[in-house]
């Protein structure tokens, strides 16, 4: 983790054990031809067993970062290491990595199964020893696995892409927007799958713009904006950093005026039928106390620790800092 990353770094390994992160991204930069700085001095690590979410709005540089991590794009500055090995195009260590970058793509006139076979055998692997059954279970395509890929829906291709990434039981799984194109049921199944894969000891690095997905699946997160690191840490710590409360009251306008005067209240926003209150160093009971003393009737009060709040808060801070 970079020293200036906020709010807290991922738990470090014991001092006696030499730390060897699965993924090390060090001062990584990429400037494209049109002088577009897609990734700017990005540094983060992913430890063994982590399920790390790479978060950021569109254009944050997530996919470019993952492509550099997989040797598809050459960085213009810095570098990446996977399992301690520096990544160059087609680095041998990538044999220990399963990946799906952007939308899953295949040779359209071949069947799903043939695509999986050719993909695995192109790298010199024995398809029979690649945990094909496990991969096919992920794809859940049934007899359609024997149909040509050009007949597949986007969701079927995406599932086949996940199956391909899981061939050979990789030690690191790199997924770029893995639930793109899936319906809610399939998304849920993929989340469950990722949790099972992580429970089996596989390290997972996934990019997503779906905050709820990261919140549900990931143990750590790296937040990017405009190519730069905004924050990194455990998901729990990131959420803790952005505490808010939701209140339902009988007089919203009056309550908002009262709450804005309470020290530690950073903002009050209407969230029908109630109010959302951003808090920093103030407790919920103090909000209720202030409202009751002002004669406002409080019917509901709940605490919120959502990644969405943290994400938006972090991006807001970053925008203020850079403007």
């Amino acid at each position: 983790m970079p020293p200036d990353a906020s709010p807290t770094p991922t738990a470090a390994p014991p001092a006696s054990v030499p730390a060897s992160p699965v993924v090390e991204v060090q001062s990584l930069s990429k400037r494209f031809d049109q002088n577009v700085l897609a990734v700017d001095d990005l540094t983060f690590t992913v430890e063994r067993g982590d399920v790390c979410g790479l978060l950021g709005p569109n254009g944050a540089g997530k996919t470019t970062t993952l492509r550099m991590l997989l040797g598809l794009i050459r960085p213009t500055g810095g570098g990446t290491r996977v399992f301690g090995e520096a990544i160059v195009p087609s680095a041998r260590v990538l044999a220990r990595v399963g990946a799906m970058i952007e939308q899953a793509a295949f040779v359209p006139y071949l069947t799903g199964l043939t695509n999986l076979r050719l993909h695995w055998e192109a790298g010199g692997g024995d398809f029979e020893k690649a945990d094909v059954e496990g991969a096919l279970a992920v794809a859940a395509l049934g007899d359609a696995i024997h149909r040509k890929v050009r007949t597949y829906s986007q969701g079927m291709r995406q599932r086949l892409g996940l199956a391909r990434a899981l061939l050979g039981q990789p030690e690191l799984l790199v997924l770029d927007e893995p639930t793109n194109g899936l319906d809610p049921q399939e998304m849920r199944a993929v989340r469950g799958l990722l949790r099972r894969v992580a429970d089996g000891g596989t390290t997972v690095l996934l990019s997503s713009h779906l905050l709820s997905e990261v919140e549900q699946v990931c143990t750590t997160a790296v937040v990017m904006d405009r190519g730069r690191l905004v924050a990194s840490g455990t998901v729990a710590d990131l959420m803790q950093a952005a505490v808010s409360a939701y209140l339902e009251v009988d007089d919203g306008e009056r309550a908002a005026r009262v709450l804005r005067e309470v020290p530690g209240v950073e903002g009050v926003a209407p969230e029908p039928p109630g109010l959302s209150v951003a808090m920093d160093g103030v407790e919920r009971w103090q909000l209720v106390d202030a409202l009751v003393h002002a004669g406002v009737k409080v019917t509901t009060v709940t605490s919120r620790h959502r990644l969405e709040d943290a994400f938006l808060g972090l991006l807001g801070e970053e925008t203020e800092r850079t403007s």
């Binding site: 598809l72 087609s90 993909h119």
Partner: protein
């Protein structure tokens, strides 16, 4: 199965491959039928044109492949070479499959060599199918035998006698030379293919190179620069049949092709090894 094996499966199951092979069978058959139905009359001129070979093919079925080779090498075979060359890397990129292959990981240098090898083999195979089909059709219709001396160009020019064995040997050399004369088209298509995600565009570029070369080659005012054009010596193999010997132009033509092949392949490999794979 190695990368070569996977490439064989990919190409072997592709409709495009079989359409090309089908054309290579159909065209000689159509030409044979046309010549059988409407036998050509003796052409004029100094000899060496397509008309001469069509006229001569009536003398021996072994000459029909030469006639077919001549007409096909000026357009059809160039298109085939450009198609296979332009398809090498760009097809994988257009499917979005290139990134998966490279992450597998397949070494970039190995991938281009296998792809280039497959394009070369497919181009050579197409030429071979064309010639063999023409040979079979020609022998069925006009027989397997040599030719006695034949006068062409209103008697100003005479094709020397050649035995069946000699004609066959000339055909083998001509086929090899025509195949090699397509190498620059394959190499240029491959080079553009490493820079593009559009296989059709890469194939069109390679075909366009030969069209431009053929047009400029016809402008004698350009002078000796034309000797370096990829199409300049394309027809040099005709001397094998017309004059019963290989001309030095075949050597020059082979060397010109070699220069282009080395240059285009080197640029293609260099480009692909440093390329950012975005597709």
């Amino acid at each position: 199965m190695s990368l070569v094996g996977t490439e064989v499966v990919k190409q072997g199951r592709r409709l495009r491959t079989w359409v090309v092979f089908g054309l290579m069978v159909a065209i000689p058959v159509i030409i044979t039928f046309a010549l059988w139905a409407n036998p050509p009359s003796q052409p004029g001129g100094e000899g060496g044109g397509g008309g001469d070979f069509f006229f001569l093919s009536r003398s021996s079925g072994l000459l029909l492949p030469a006639a077919v080779l001549l007409v096909a090498s000026r357009f059809l075979l160039i298109g085939v070479a450009a198609l296979f060359g332009g398809d090498t890397i760009a097809a994988e990129a257009s499917w979005g499959n290139l990134r998966s292959l490279l992450v597998r990981p397949v070494q970039r240098g190995r991938l281009v060599l296998v792809k280039l090898g497959a394009a070369t083999v497919l181009t050579a195979l197409s030429t071979l199918i064309l010639v063999l089909t023409a040979l079979i059709a020609g022998v069925i219709v006009w027989g397997w035998h040599g030719i006695a001396g034949v006068s062409l160009g209103f008697g100003f020019f005479r094709v020397p006698s050649q035995s069946a064995g000699l004609l066959l040997w000339h055909l083998v050399i001509a086929t090899a030379y025509v195949t090699w004369s397509l190498a620059a088209a394959v190499a240029f298509g491959f080079m553009v293919s490493t820079m593009s995600d559009a296989p059709i565009g890469a194939a069109a570029a390679a075909f366009g190179l030969y069209v431009v070369s053929a047009i400029l080659d016809a402008v004698s005012a350009i002078g000796s620069i034309r000797n370096g054009f990829p199409t300049h010596y394309s027809d040099a193999w005709q001397d094998l049949f017309i004059h019963n010997h290989a001309s030095f132009e075949m050597v020059l033509g082979s060397l010109v092709q070699l220069g282009y092949v080395v240059a285009f392949c080197a640029i293609g490999v260099w480009w692909f090894r440093r390329k950012d794979v975005m597709s």
